[in-house]
Symmetry: C2
Subunit: 347 residues, 2 copies
């Protein structure tokens, strides 16, 4: 890491409680010696958990007490109205008042999105935020967005997602001109509904630091055909969860097939190292949760059921996004989406 | 099989040529002793391929010559205008003139749909056809529709898909009251866009021979949460291809992990029977292609890249659908979608 930065953390969001978050924090403190952290949550609990690390990291961690936390099943609208004293609200507030550059939470996704939009607002030119997910591919990983912030998206919003996606791929994957594809039911130009066709017309006509690869199909995501896959939040969310379900199904089949005979049990025992590698590759913790893009501040959501390993990966992601200057790229590139591009969409 | 029936076959659609179709036909002739077949395609080629089976099955197979066949990359609109002399057109025609109850083709999906709609028309009350796919689950299989016949669907069309899906599950899975779920981004009532919310309101108010389970999410498909998953063709197609891509990714990871060390290679060798079982479970051939529902006649699409095993499974599927009387169920159940249900959607 090349410069100092501060990350704000909602310590109360994980299903397993603040101990997971504090363990992750200790990993991150060791991994990122130039990073500072503001920890929001129950002061007594956090002080106790941090006791043995206090002398070592005292100057790099500050604890801020908050009296409440957002429940996992709480309605986002309710959390927004009544949650000003929660660790989640306060953690976002640290970004709003610029004492931190990024916030990480494992709490209620809807509440985190509502509070972040309310407090941080949008990047200039972007009308709606998106949730981006990392996706394992045959030769690395790609980023898919939107995976659930919006249930419907028009052509212009899909173009915004493409801008946010290429900015992410440049900031985090370190690619100069990432390839971007629009998720569709076929790769031919005439396929799909008006929103994807309109977005394709615009993306062919804009000058952005990316390679627009046209339409891609569902199986192209895992193939790694492109670095960035753009879709509406309805389709993206269903694709993501369908993939998770399929991976679990295949691993379940494999497990029961390997238990069927003595010989295959022996085989499974001998290959257990390989099977562990497989599990690690498919482990959703490694992906570090979803990235909220388009907001005036970096917000990373870790899985509610995360462990310290997963929450630390989410912190890594937040730091990478901040150091990569993703929001400056989004604002600049969105401004560059020329009038020509906009006209192309309606012509 | 309890009664005689005739299946019409497009012998020229498979990528591997008519030999695959004839091998599949021989399997089906042995498997279904009460079934007859009409084979459409190049007479000389088909006679040669069938030569050694002729005496045994002569009374159950008739060959009909057609001079042309639809190419895989042909535009559906062009095939429809100029394809009257193709094996595909003629094979569908056999159903239209009621000399066969079902047609099976491994040819161009778009052309097969366009020609089937044109020649057969829709079941009374159904406005748009759907393509249904079988999906492996942790405890068997479910059916998902639409997986690509339509790029957008309103609430009323989603209700049609639910009717077609429950009729399919009753006819083919033999279930009395199949469970039906609407694919969405969350299971709560307020989630999703207008089409899914409207369809849910209607399905809660209609009296159909099914159990409406409300909204399901992407990972519920492979979990087998419901027997029938209803969605628009855009989302369904992307979910299906995403699942195929994910399964290939996981199997690829597994293969390379098993090759990494001598020990794991030995393990893979000992467990090779189990790994074969896994491959068979995930084999798309076993699913037998897509079923076109809502048409006045049974149309089954086998994968273009199918082998004899896969094409025979598609023939099995066509016979099951015909014997199960699926189209009578669809017509009757659609008529039963009461005015009450329709009102509920707009209220």
């Amino acid at each position: 890491m090349s410069r100092e930065l501060t990350v704000s953390i909602d310590a109360m969001g994980a299903d397993a409680g603040p101990s997971v978050v504090v363990s992750a924090l200790v990993r991150s403190l060791q991994r990122h010696p130039a990073a500072k952290f503001i920890l929001h949550g129950d002061e007594t609990a956090l002080n106790a958990l941090l006791a043995r690390w206090k002398t070592k990291f005292a100057h790099r961690v500050s604890i801020r007490h908050s009296a409440a936390h957002v429940r996992m099943d709480e309605k986002p609208s309710l959390a927004l109205r009544r949650g000003r004293n929660t660790s989640m609200w306060r953690a976002i507030e640290s970004v709003k008042i610029a004492e931190a550059e990024a916030v990480v939470s494992a709490g209620n996704t809807g509440a985190l999105m509502a509070m972040s939009m309310f407090q941080l607002g949008m990047v200039e030119g972007i009308s709606r935020p998106a949730i981006a997910a990392l996706w394992p591919t045959t030769h690395g990983q790609c980023v898919v967005l939107d995976v659930g912030a919006n249930v419907e998206s028009d052509a212009e919003q899909l173009v915004d997602f493409a801008v946010m996606g290429e900015a992410f791929a440049r900031a985090v994957f370190g690619l100069e001109r990432p390839t971007v594809g629009l998720l569709n039911v076929g790769s031919e130009e005439a396929k799909g509904h008006d929103a994807v066709k309109g977005a394709a017309r615009m993306l062919r006509n804009v000058a952005l630091p990316m390679e627009f690869a046209g339409f891609v199909e569902g199986d192209d995501i895992a193939k790694g055909t492109v670095n960035v896959v753009v879709t509406d939040g309805f389709t993206g969310n269903i694709a993501l969860k369908t993939a998770e379900g399929t991976a679990r199904l295949v691993v379940g089949y494999l497990r029961s097939a390997l238990k069927r005979s003595l010989l295959s049990r022996l085989g499974a025992f001998l290959a257990s190292g390989a099977l562990k590698t497989l599990r690690r590759k498919l482990d959703p913790r490694a992906a570090g949760g979803g990235m909220f893009l388009g907001l005036n501040g970096i917000v990373v959501k870790s899985h509610g059921g995360t462990d310290a390993f997963g929450f630390a990966a989410a912190i890594d992601m937040a730091i990478d996004m901040a150091l990569g200057g993703i929001n400056k790229s989004i604002a600049a590139d969105r401004a560059g989406v020329s009038a020509l591009g906009r006209e192309a969409a309606v012509s």
